[in-house]
């Protein structure tokens, strides 16, 4: 009973909070669009209300509706996806250092993107351009490589998976660096790709990632209970009716899908996927049924706020990863110190 009430309460609160954040962030930005203008554009475009936009300059409409608003939505999606993905990996590996990139997904993506950038491919499929496609392909190729290397018969021991991931990660990063080295012209471009940003991303990118992110999130949220049981040990989980290999595959796939789809669009954004689940775990405890949804909301909101800072604080963009780390790091440390347990979690 109590449980259910608090759940609904949480849901309502979370949705309201998110809407609030999205609205505040939409009216904030480097370009000065007045609040009333911003509101009118939102009302017109979002709810198809009969609000006249005639007095508002075309530039401002573009800024709010084609740049700022989709960027905020994409930021939320990105933050949510990365945080849930990180929580998933941390659960499967039972390792506090696991992040969405632990299996080499990111270096695979970066390598793919680097190949795309160096070869100046220009093909595109629907909303995907070549770099995005190659990054996505790189991620998944890496995942399958790591998975098949770690496979022992029908089992995939997580310890091996983790070590393989670590090794593949180094190797692919090195290959990418090598490509960068050999192609000075593309070097900066590759480097900027790896320093993820939401700058310049819009509705197209949302369309490109949303389906995958939704699939990933649904799979993850449906695996909560099994993840909880897995935390108590693989043997016990088997005895409690969990098909552990299936769960591993499922969660790895979903987490990787979340990460790969998001980073192939935004480039590599660190920190969120690593630290948000820890922050949330300090608040909710280890149960995934609470950890995952709260991480999702928290990750998304955190990302939106940081990205707003990234695009508004100075005239130039500050890479959002820098903001997340500079603000989030000390906050996490503060929580860590405050929690009496001393963070003996995951």
């Amino acid at each position: 009973m109590k449980n259910k009430k608090s759940k609904t309460g949480f849901l309502v609160l979370a949705v309201l909070l998110c809407l609030g954040i999205v609205w505040v962030c939409t009216i904030t930005g480097a370009a000065s669009v007045s609040i009333s203008d911003a509101n009118r554009i939102l009302l017109n475009k979002l709810f198809h209300l009969n609000v006249s936009l005639e007095e508002i300059s075309k530039g401002n409409i573009t800024i709010i509706w084609n740049i700022r608003f989709p960027r905020i939505i994409l930021g939320f999606i990105t933050g949510a996806a990365l945080a849930v993905s990180g929580a998933g990996y941390q659960g499967i590996f039972k390792n506090p250092m696991a992040d969405p990139f632990v299996l080499g997904i990111s270096s695979g993506a970066a390598l793919g993107a680097a190949v795309g950038i160096v070869c100046h491919f220009t093909f595109r499929i629907g909303v995907f351009n070549s770099t995005m496609l190659l990054a996505f392909a790189g991620s998944f190729a890496t995942l399958f490589l790591v998975y098949s290397i770690s496979r022992v018969g029908r089992r995939v021991p997580v310890a091996t998976l983790l070590l393989s991931g670590v090794a593949i990660n180094s190797t692919l990063s090195a290959l990418m660096s090598f490509i960068m080295m050999m192609n000075k012209q593309s070097m900066d471009q590759i480097m900027f790709w790896t320093m993820g940003t939401l700058n310049g991303k819009g509705w197209n990118q949302i369309a490109a990632v949303l389906p995958w992110v939704l699939i990933g999130l649904v799979i993850m949220l449906l695996s909560c209970r099994e993840l909880d049981v897995m935390l108590t040990g693989e043997e016990t989980a088997t005895q409690l009716g969990v098909n552990i290999e299936l769960v591993k595959r499922k969660v790895l796939f979903a987490s990787s899908l979340l990460t790969a789809s998001v980073i192939s669009v935004t480039g590599i954004i660190g920190f969120v996927g690593l630290v948000v689940p820890h922050v949330v775990r300090l608040l909710t405890g280890p149960k995934h049924r609470r950890l995952l949804p709260v991480s999702m909301v928290f990750g998304g909101a955190f990302m939106v706020i940081c990205d707003t800072a990234a695009r508004s604080l100075t005239t130039s963009e500050i890479p959002v990863g820098i903001i997340t780390s500079i603000c989030g790091g000390p906050f996490f440390l503060y929580l860590l110190r405050k929690s009496k347990k001393g963070g003996g979690v995951v």
Binding site: G241, N243, I244
Partner: protein, 308 residues
């Protein structure tokens, strides 16, 4: 459908090992529905290994195991967990789960993304916690419990699984005498009232012969003896276990029960029922137990307020 004499668990020439090392060579025996079998064998004979096989943690290298008539190799983890619950020899959890969380996990085999955890599930867990007396620390963290408390929590989880078969690996090793008998008694109740088939690894042959309907002795990877306790202990074969058998149910004993609080009832009753000469001592005259002793006394229990 379900025949009372149904074979719940059947080992035929089961063999298993770890890598090169063969642990079980050729184990064959069957457990019928409603039996309460004690598995006995010295350290390292493979009792825990056998339990691991049944619960699907180790693949057989030879022979077959059938669970409720189904080949163990082909069982899905979920199906198996609905039929078989395991109380392992020892059990750690690194994470901050509460006792309630742990017990609720017993419902996992019945929940999936279509069937969410229901009020009924919660009630079943509730009942299991009551039965094992773990409900008073339901909100404490599992990894902050004492050894004995943990053992009971895991038993509660197994009960929550509502299995047809329950496998227990030294379920009372960390329990004090009081809880030991309570837990054994609880298991017997489950066995008798709910017809759950029980296979328990026990080192205490006395406990085994008092509670179980049958004893299976493992040695050298094979079943060395198999039968009702009385028979087993009297067998002419060489049984590699030293038994202090003065506690055999077959022979009435004089037993003095020291008890002073309420709660002694069950033990006193049970011992009396077993045909022992029971005496109870140092009972507080005013206490609940005293009344019960008096009551039982009229049924053949000699109440002696103090010894010597």
């Amino acid at each position: 459908m379900k025949n009372e004499n149904q074979t719940m668990l059947s080992f035929s020439h089961a063999a298993v090992g770890y890598g090169e090392k063969v642990v079980l060579q050729d184990v064959s025996f069957q457990v019928k529905k409603g039996e309460y079998v004690a598995l006995i064998g010295s350290n390292g004979t493979g009792k825990s290994t056998l339990i691991k096989c049944v619960s699907g943690l180790l693949p057989l290298t030879g022979g077959e195991i059938e669970i409720c008539g189904k080949n163990s190799r082909k069982l899905k983890a979920r199906e198996r967990a609905q039929m078989v619950a395991v109380v392992p020899q020892s059990y750690y959890v690194d994470y901050d789960f509460t006792v309630e969380d742990i017990v609720m996990m017993g419902r996992n085999p019945y929940i999936d993304f279509r069937h969410r955890e229901s009020q009924e599930d919660r009630e079943i867990a509730e009942r299991a916690m009551k039965l094992t007396k773990t409900d008073m620390f339901r909100n404490r963290l599992y990894n902050q419990l004492s050894g004995g408390e943990r053992q009971r929590v895991i038993l509660a989880r197994a009960i929550t699984q509502q299995p047809d078969i329950i496998l227990l690996d030294e379920p009372t090793s960390a329990l004090d005498l009081h809880h030991q008998i309570e837990v054994m008694e609880l298991i017997r109740q489950l066995n008798e009232k709910e017809h759950i088939t029980v296979l328990a690894v026990l080192h205490d042959i006395n406990l085994a012969s008092r509670f179980c309907s049958r004893i299976v002795i493992l040695k050298d990877g094979k079943v060395k003896a198999d039968g009702p306790p009385r028979e087993i202990i009297n067998r002419r074969e060489i049984i590699p276990i030293r038994v202090m058998d003065e506690k055999q149910t077959a022979k009435p004993l004089r037993i003095h029960v020291i008890c002073g609080e309420k709660g002694g009832v069950r033990i006193l009753e049970q011992l009396t029922n077993m045909g022992h000469f029971v005496s109870a001592g140092v009972v507080n005259r005013e206490s609940d137990d005293a009344e019960i002793c008096e009551y039982l006394g009229s049924q053949g229990l000699r109440l002696i307020p103090s010894r010597q």
